[in-house]
Amino acid sequence: MEFILLFGFSMLVVIMLMGVTSSLIQDTITDRQFLALRDLGDRLQGELTLAAGVHEGYTRSITVPDTVEGYDYTINTTTSQFTLLTQQVQLVYRTPPLNGSLHKGTTIITLHGGLLSLS
């Protein structure tokens, strides 16, 4: 009986510690995802704002990675912003008016008629 009680208590302690450790590791992963996504988002926003401010007919090809530091993510684009998403992190970036959408792989940015086109 005593053994069962002590063993049960030790298991409880182990489970609690595993929970805390798991939470710490999850926080760290979320943190790393945030940093990785922010680096990508800053770069993409920089490309788009630069493109909107240069001469008519500007064209540039950019590569959007499939993953960021090994983390899978989703990219959604509207006419005025794009969103980078993982399960834990969501970052919204405002952009100049856009036609088309950013997608993983090669995206071509074109400035035509004062409007940025993505293809």
Partner: protein, 170 residues
């Protein structure tokens, strides 16, 4: 000494304590290895945000509807309209525009004291405490935080130097 079955309570307690200690150390080492230190990141955010604020912003004639990156200058001088517009942005929107996970607050100061351009300061209101109002009612109390990065940048307003003070903290 009476021993019950094969288990000694004191031995068991000591072994569990050692085991917990080891497990905690391993967890701490693991998270420390994975985790980047907070302060350098906070400091980097403070520098990036202050650099944005020391620009005209994007677009240069931004409004709260069109802003992509907010900046406070126009023609190399502080634009008080932009300051007022920045104040009208909700705090969460302001943080989202700068993409920082930390709390931020900023104010302007000249040789006479804090410049009160209808508001004392922008950003997080409760974390660092400021009194809004006019004239002498404006007072700034820096946040009491474990991690705090503070940046001071110089700009021009009405042909005089003005200090932009930015706090970033967790």
């Amino acid at each position: 000494m009476h021993k019950t079955a094969q288990t000694w309570t004191l031995d068991f307690i000591v072994s569990v304590a050692l085991f917990m200690l080891t497990l905690l150390l391993v967890a701490r080492l693991l998270t420390n290895t994975l985790e980047e230190p907070t302060f350098p990141r906070m400091s980097r955010d403070a520098m990036v945000i202050s650099s944005h604020l020391m620009s005209e912003g994007i677009p240069s004639n931004w409004t709260n509807d069109t802003v992509i990156i907010p900046g406070l200058l126009s023609n190399g001088q502080l634009n008080t309209t932009k300051w007022a517009q920045l104040h009208d942005l909700p705090y969460d929107t302001l943080k989202d525009l700068f993409h920082t996970p930390y709390d931020i607050a900023l104010y302007l100061q000249n040789a006479s004291g804090i410049i009160n351009l209808s508001v004392c300061a922008l950003g997080h209101e409760t974390g660092y405490g400021y009194q809004t109002g006019y004239g002498d009612a404006c007072a700034i109390y820096p946040p009491e935080a474990r991690n705090l990065a503070s940046v001071t940048r110089l700009m021009v307003y009405h042909n005089a130097l003005v200090e932009l003070h930015l706090y970033v903290w967790q």
